[in-house]
C-alpha cells in the first residue's frame, strides 16, 4: 500500500493562514491503514487547528470529512461532500499525493464558480508493507519491469540503496547495509533466499543494463486498458 506520514503541524498551519473556512478531507484507504490520514487523524488535526485558532483569537471554521478513496471519482461524486468543498476556502487533503492531486482535479472540474485550493497534510513516503505494529517498510519503487522472479521475491531495485542488480556491494556487513545499519542488505537477503530455494545459479548470470523506460525515467506513466474502456 501507499504509506504516508503527517507533515509537522506548523507546516500545515502555515498553509491555512488567512483562511476562515477550512475543510479537512481524510482518505479511507491506504493512509487510514497506515494511520496517517484516516478518520482518526482527521479528528486529531481538526482539534489541533481549532486549539491553535482559539489561542490566536482566530474564528476560522474547521470541518472534518472522510472520502473512502480520494484517488477515484466514484468516491468523490457525493453531493454533500461537493457542497462542503464549495463552501470552504481551502481543503486540507489527508490523502497521499495521488489523492491530493486527484481530489483537486475532480473538485475543480465539477465546481464551476470558484477555483478550489487543495493542500497536502501528508508527505507520501513510499509503497510498502506493514512489518510490525506501527512500522512500515518500503518494498516497491514501481519501476515498471518486475525482476522478483529472479531475486527470490526480494526487490534489489527498491531495497538496495544503490539499486544494484548483480549482487551486494562491498558495503554489506553482517547482513546489514552500510547506508543504514538498521536496514537489511537486500542482496544478503536475496542470497539467503535463493540458497533456500536452490536457485543460487541465478546469482551467476549477469543481469544486463536495465531499461528504465517503464519507470519514471520514461516520463509520467499511464496504463490504458482498451478492453475495459466503454
Amino acid at each position: 500500500m501507499i504509506v504516508g506520514e503527517r507533515k509537522p503541524f506548523s507546516e500545515i498551519l502555515s498553509m491555512v493562514e488567512g483562511d476562515s473556512k477550512i475543510l479537512i478531507l481524510g482518505c479511507g484507504s491506504c493512509v487510514t491503514v497506515c494511520m496517517a490520514g484516516g478518520e482518526e487523524e482527521v479528528k486529531i488535526l481538526g482539534s489541533q487547528l481549532r486549539m491553535a485558532f482559539r489561542r490566536n483569537g482566530n474564528n476560522a471554521e474547521v470541518t472534518e470529512l472522510v472520502a473512502l478513496r480520494q484517488c477515484d471519482d466514484e468516491y468523490l461524486e457525493d453531493t454533500p461532500l461537493i457542497e462542503k468543498v464549495k463552501d470552504a476556502d481551502i481543503v486540507i487533503s489527508m490523502a497521499c499525493g495521488v489523492g491530493v492531486q486527484h481530489a483537486s482535479t475532480f473538485f475543480n472540474r465539477v465546481i464551476d464558480d470558484k477555483t478550489i485550493r487543495v493542500v497536502p497534510a501528508l508527505n507520501t513516503t513510499f509503497m510498502g508493507a506493514n512489518i510490525d505494529v506501527g512500522e512500515w517498510h518500503e518494498r516497491c519503487l514501481g519501476c515498471g519491469d518486475c525482476v522478483l522472479e529472479k531475486t527470490g521475491g526480494i526487490c534489489p531495485i527498491t531495497r538496495c540503496a544503490k539499486s544494484l542488480l548483480n549482487g551486494p556491494c562491498g558495503g554489506s556487513f553482517n547482513g546489514k547495509c552500510e547506508v543504514n545499519k538498521d536496514t537489511d542488505c537486500a542482496w544478503h537477503l536475496i542470497i539467503e533466499r535463493l540458497e533456500a530455494l536452490g536457485e543460487l545459479d541465478n546469482l551467476k548470470k549477469i543481469e544486463m543494463y536495465k531499461d528504465w523506460r517503464p519507470s519514471h525515467s520514461g516520463g509520467p506513466r499511464k496504463t490504458v486498458r482498451e478492453d475495459m474502456k466503454i
Binding site: 540503496a161 544503490k162 539499486s163 544494484l164 542488480l165 548483480n166 549482487g167 551486494p168 556491494c169 562491498g170 558495503g171 554489506s172 556487513f173 553482517n174 547482513g175 552500510e178 547506508v179 542488505c185 544478503h188 542470497i191 539467503e192 546469482l203 551467476k204 549477469i206 543481469e207 544486463m208 543494463y209 536495465k210 528504465w212
Partner: protein
C-alpha cells in the same frame, strides 16, 4: 594489447606491479595534483585517481588524470556509477581515451549519504558489473550500449574493485567471477589487514581459476595511528583489523606509531608477493603520498621495472 598501458604491459609480462592512489583536491588547484604526482613518480607503476571519493566533491578524476599524464605518470581513472548515467559514462570514456587515459576502474561508488552533499540525488543507472561489460563492449566490439558504432579507436584496460572481507564472505569470490565474466582485466582489492582471511579468499579464487583470467592486485593502506586503525575498523565496511596489529602499534609507543605502521605495511607487502594468484599491490597511501618513496624502498620494491 587491450590499451597498451604500462600497467597492462607490466602485468602481461608477469612483473609484480605496484599501483598508487591519488585523491584530487577539493578545488581547482592543479599544483596540488602535481605535487602529489611528484612524490609518486617512478615509485609506482600507475596511479589511481579517485572519483569524488567518499562522495565528497573534488576535482574530476578525468581532469586530474590528464594533469598526471602531463607530469609523466600513468593514471587509472576511477569511475563511479553513483554520479553518471550510461550516457555521461560513455561520453567521459571517449574523452578519457582522447586525453590519453588507458586504464580505468569501474566502481559502484560510495553512497552519497557519506559525503558532503547527502541531499543529492544519486544515479545508479547501471552497476559496476554492467559498467565493466559496457567498457569491454566499447573496446572489443567498437559499439556503445545501443549498438551504434564508435567512430575511431576506443581502448581501455579495464579494472574493478573487490572487497574480500564484505559479507556474505563465501559469495565474494563468486561476485569476482561475475566481474571476470563481464570482462574485467584487473582487480584491485579493498585494504587488507586480516592476512589469514585474505589467504583463505585467495585460495578460493585460485581454486576457481580466476587469477588466470584477470590480474589481482592486493590493496593495502598504512595505519598512521591507533585512532585511525580503530576508526577504520569501526566505520569502514569490510575493514577488519586484527587485534595483534593494533597491539603492535600500541606497543610501539608514542612517536613511533607511524613508523611501526609502515613496518607492518612493508611486511604485508612482502607476504602478499608470495601469495598465489596475487599479481601486484595497490598501495593506497591516502594523504600520505610523501611517505610512498620510503615505503617502497623499505618494502624492497624499488626500482620499478621499465616497460
Amino acid at each position: 594489447m587491450k590499451s597498451g598501458s604500462n600497467l597492462e604491459r607490466l602485468l602481461e609480462r608477469g612483473e609484480f606491479v605496484v599501483t598508487g592512489e591519488l585523491g584530487p583536491p577539493k578545488g581547482p588547484d592543479a599544483n596540488v595534483v602535481k605535487e602529489k604526482a611528484a612524490m609518486l613518480k617512478d615509485h609506482v607503476d600507475a596511479v589511481n585517481i579517485t572519483d569524488n571519493q567518499s562522495a565528497t566533491v573534488r576535482m574530476s578524476s578525468i581532469a586530474a588524470c590528464k594533469i598526471l599524464i602531463d607530469e609523466g605518470l600513468e593514471p587509472t581513472m576511477q569511475m563511479v556509477a553513483r554520479d553518471r548515467n550510461r550516457i555521461a559514462m560513455m561520453a567521459d570514456l571517449f574523452g578519457a581515451t582522447a586525453l590519453g587515459i588507458k586504464n580505468m576502474l569501474c566502481l559502484s561508488g560510495d553512497h552519497q549519504i557519506f559525503g558532503n552533499h547527502p541531499e543529492a540525488k544519486n544515479v545508479f543507472d547501471i552497476d559496476s558489473i554492467q559498467m565493466i561489460h559496457m567498457v569491454k563492449t566499447m573496446r572489443d566490439e567498437h559499439k556503445v550500449i545501443c549498438e551504434d558504432e564508435i567512430e575511431g579507436e576506443f581502448t581501455m584496460y579495464i579494472g574493478a574493485a573487490c572487497n574480500p572481507f564484505a559479507d556474505p564472505a563465501w559469495y565474494r569470490p563468486h561476485r569476482l567471477a561475475k566481474k571476470v565474466e563481464a570482462g574485467v582485466d584487473f582487480i584491485q582489492t579493498q585494504c587488507i589487514y586480516d592476512m589469514n582471511r585474505f589467504r583463505a579468499f585467495m585460495k578460493q579464487v585460485v581454486d576457481m581459476g580466476l587469477h588466470e583470467k584477470c590480474k589481482i592486485l592486493a590493496g593495502v593502506t598504512p595505519l598512521k595511528s591507533i585512532g585511525m586503525a580503530r576508526y577504520m575498523a569501526a566505520n569502514v565496511s569490510g575493514i577488519i583489523i586484527p587485534d595483534d596489529m593494533i597491539n603492535r602499534l600500541r606497543d610501539a609507543g608514542k612517536g613511533n606509531v607511524a613508523a611501526e605502521g609502515i613496518k607492518i605495511l612493508c611486511e604485508q607487502m612482502q607476504e602478499l608477493k608470495d601469495i598465489e594468484g596475487v599479481a601486484g599491490i595497490h598501495l593506497m597511501a591516502i594523504e600520505w603520498e610523501h611517505r610512498v618513496p620510503e615505503i617502497m624502498k623499505m618494502a624492497g620494491f624499488l626500482p620499478r621495472p621499465t616497460v
